[in-house]
Amino acid sequence: MADDKITINGDSYSFNEGETILETVRNLEVYVPGICSTQPDLGIGVIQTCDTCYVEVNGEMKRACATKSAPGMQVNTQSGKVKEAQHEAMSRILENHELYCTVCDNNNGNCEVHNAAEYLEIEHQEYDFRPKPYPQDNSHPFYRYEPDQCILCGMCVEACQDLQVSEVLSIDWEREIPRVIWDNDVPIDESSCVSCGHCVSVCPCNALMEKSMLGEAGYMTAIPNDVLEPMINLTKEVEPGYREILTISNIEATMREDRIKRTKTVCTYCGVGCSFEVWTKGRHILKIQPDEKAPVNGISTCVKGKFGWDYVNSEERLTTPLIRKGEKFVEATWEEALTLMAEKMKDLQKTYGNDSIGFIASSKCSNEENYLFQKLARTVFGTNNIDNCSRYCQTPASTGLMRTVGIGGDAGTIKDIESSELVLVVGANPAESHPVLATRIKRAHKLFDQKLLVFDLRENELAHRADMFISPKPGTDLVWLNAITKYIIDKDWHDKDFIEKRVNHFPEFVESLSQYTLEYAEEKTGLSKELLIKVANIIHEAKSMCALWAMGVTQHIGGTDTSTAISNLLLVTGNYGKPGTGGYPLRGHNNVQGASDFGTMPNYLPGYESIEDDAIRAKYEKAWGTKLPKEPGYNNHEVVEAIQDGKVKAMYLFGEEMGLVDSNINYVHTAFEKLDFFVVQDVFFSKTAQFADLVLPAAPSLEKDGTFTNTERRIQRFHKVFEPLGQAKADWEIFQDLANKMGADWNYQHPGEIMEEAASLAPVFAGVSYERLEGWKSQVWPVQHDGTDTPLLYEEEFAFEDGKANLFPVKWSPPYHPGEEYDLHLNNGRILEHFHEGNMTYQSEGITHKVPEPWLEVSPQLAEKRGIKTGSLVRLKSPYGEAEVRVWVTDQVKGNELYFPMHTMVEQSAVNRLTSSYHDTVTHTPNYKEMHVKMEVIEFRGPSPIPDHNHRFGNPQPQAGVEVERKWSRPEFTTIAEFIKRKGFDHGESDQAN
């Protein structure tokens, strides 16, 4: 036997250094139970509460999960002693859990308690089942806790404390009969629970369950309680042994496979790209079940991804085409709708030319749909007037990256962010806008000493947790970024080797920084020199740094330049091309990356190939069999102007609520009114649709196949769960039908064929295919022909001809200010529970219960000055319009800065009635974040816009996970090893029957 091997049940095996015995045996497919180690995302051997993994190690009883494998170690997983120990552990669990599997909604083949009891051939209850003296907690809208079934494994606690890091759950080990508690033991709904669902997803039994599962999943689980309880009692009384019960429940679980459909999908909210299974029964969504194999999120979800799917079955869904007739819409058939559309568009095209039609694409829809939409605009209508909503958010970031490193996307993946030594967050609120990505930062910061620097106006959750939270004057980020970069170079801390080998234009760049002294920065940003030096030191000391930014940077007049400045700083410090480094613009929508990637941009074909490049155009002309226009078309912003100027006469828009989320919406609305023909394709009758001449009913992601590309550039497949509701159709099918009505001869049978075509044309997607995206597999572009993908960019070279990055000098543009009379700064953005204007999330009763309407965050200082309180109703006025909203007084904001979430479908309280049409000078992204307003009080007193049962008013209880030591120090606790010793199994096999 070689020395570096481990012996398991007599055979010797190699193992990976550092792994535990439980990991070793699992890799070898030797089954050892281990209920509290069933979720690798929580860590193996971290929790140590279930004790079912005891094995014999060199003759001693040890937890396999907490003992590291070592050379020469003798492990026995099957001796009598081991069986006795595991039996004892399981018996202790069953003291806390009744096995009524057949009538339990969690009996779906994946119940860890069931499976462990079955494996251990538990026949009888060693200790009587003991109900806990606590009622069920049904207070939360989405899940319930049943203490009687809780085995106190603490996986939920670990998930909440150390993975989601909301720090709400704990086990009160000191009370006579322990239980899981929320905050300091309040009903769940009144706690600081953010409804992310981690606890429910990891629960190994039915103690924590989604309410949507209860009485729905099983064949016999809807039996009323007065019949069910005696039934359980009867089963227990006559119980011949658990074997028979488990057999029957296995049969029942197998039968459930017929009624419960499990389909992998990709979340359709933010750009993080969580994937998970949707469990459905008919059209009823039983639950969202994440899986540790999901490449981005593992078992993590946020409230929207876990619980926000009611919109799919909403009564308000559009189910038939609608044609405007006079002052109303009337229902029409698809034939009528598409005939009308083809005729009108042809007429306008003939009269006013190809460029009289504008196309607005959707970052909520699939890559294939965006590809087909730009093909439709370019080939059938002969125009490049096409854009998507990344113009409202992240085009400046993409442009800043294209200037410096060459690719407009995240430099690495979530793995790099979590493994980085330092995370710098600028103008982003990931804990609310990218919740699952934020969990990885919060976890690394809490458990693995990751440093966190947050620059923001508002003290958001990450800011609150950060090592340093720094709040510069609005719109001055470029100044401190340049100043710190200059300071680092002046101190000779820059990565000279990296710059010399891999970066161009260093001397010119240094020259351009001359103005950005610490004194200048102090004056412009309001941040002291000392503070800036401290930040420079932290950046200098970190061996790796990731910079994350979002709308707080991009939605400014200087959005592209500030994004460029971030990338410059990363280049100067050598933070590209290594694990744990890079620039990460956090994408806001599920497919905002993919929409641009697949060519719905006025200047790019798919894969960011320039429309003006003759060779590239020739390639597409050959493939598509038609001439393509060379000149870039209007972007989102320009198209509105062009309508106002009478140059654009018709518009085709899908999956985009431009009428609420574009800036200066009054101006947008008047533009819509001027259109001769306007087609809106959506899942709901949106504000934008109210201006339409033709409304087409589209199908959401659960009703079609396709792929999305997340913020990491990761392409992931989602699958059809339901048939489209009513006469709704997948967007790609509508495009194809229209194209064919217009005389094209398209014949795509499945989105996979569209992807195949895109992959054959765009080099960065060369190796992308549906076969390679099956199951949980994903591809991070660029993808080579053989399918090799690129999770981390720039390891060898940057994406320019010479392979070198470019330092790109940028200057500060002072933000727009409407004038002295507008005395309050208006910040705006998202909150955790809702998404965008809220057309999907307000459909969820539970989410609306938590957040019924948006609010205005006002600082305590300002509130005092104006005599207003939480609940006051105010009117905000800017030069562009006015909006009404109720106030929440909170110290998250300071001084004269306001925060106004964007989530409303009520025009009157839409923040974009206040924003202007000024924009980033390079990309035309609106400067949403540069507005000042006046505030008038309408009512001094009124109801709070946030209910008391919102998580913001909870009382979190941070602790280091489940704290199992407190269990072990309970007076009656005996370790399993000790128990076995006392029982006298130290010598030879026991004569245990099982």
Partner: protein
């Protein structure tokens, strides 16, 4: 020049329209499944004639009450014992080798036949007769089988 409007005129599908549509749907699936449906109808008619349908209807309509009653009846110690014994007996049967059982039962049936024949004769056997019959190979085989059974049962009783 289109102002924002909210009014949507749903094509007014009268309840009759909807009914006609639904009936058409039903008719077309009926036609598709003609064979099996006709057979099913015959079976249903037989069930009705025999009164089974009435019974099922009654049970279904009162299922909650019946469930409660049943549970009340079933959740009693005597029933618990009955079910336990039933399961015990079932488990007992699963442990027996069918070949062995067959052999023993065969012997028992022969024994029954023979004994009932003898019963009619009403003959008496004296002590001597008994002693003598022990030597009879057939009787001896039965006795030793029975003694071995007692041995096995004894050790089984000790183990549990």
């Amino acid at each position: 020049m289109a102002k924002a409007i909210k009014q949507i005129d749903r094509k007014i599908r009268t309840p009759e329209d909807r009914r006609t549509e639904e009936l058409n749907d039903i008719l077309s699936s009926l036609a598709e499944q003609k064979e099996s449906l006709l057979q099913l109808l015959e079976i249903i008619e037989e069930l009705r004639k025999s009164g089974v349908l009435d019974m099922i209807q009654g049970v279904l309509a009162t299922r909650h009450k019946l469930g409660l009653l049943a549970m009340e009846e079933l959740d009693k110690p005597t029933v618990h014992d009955l079910v336990k014994s039933g399961i015990g007996a079932f488990n007992f049967l699963t442990k027996i080798d069918p070949a062995q059982l067959d052999r023993i039962l065969n012997g028992m049936s022969e024994g029954l036949k023979h004994s009932s024949e003898q019963l009619d004769k009403d003959e008496k056997i004296g002590v001597w007769g008994m002693m003598k019959s022990v030597k009879d190979p057939a009787v001896n085989r039965s006795l030793s089988t029975f003694i071995h059974f007692l041995e096995g049962m004894g050790s089984g009783l000790k183990a549990k």
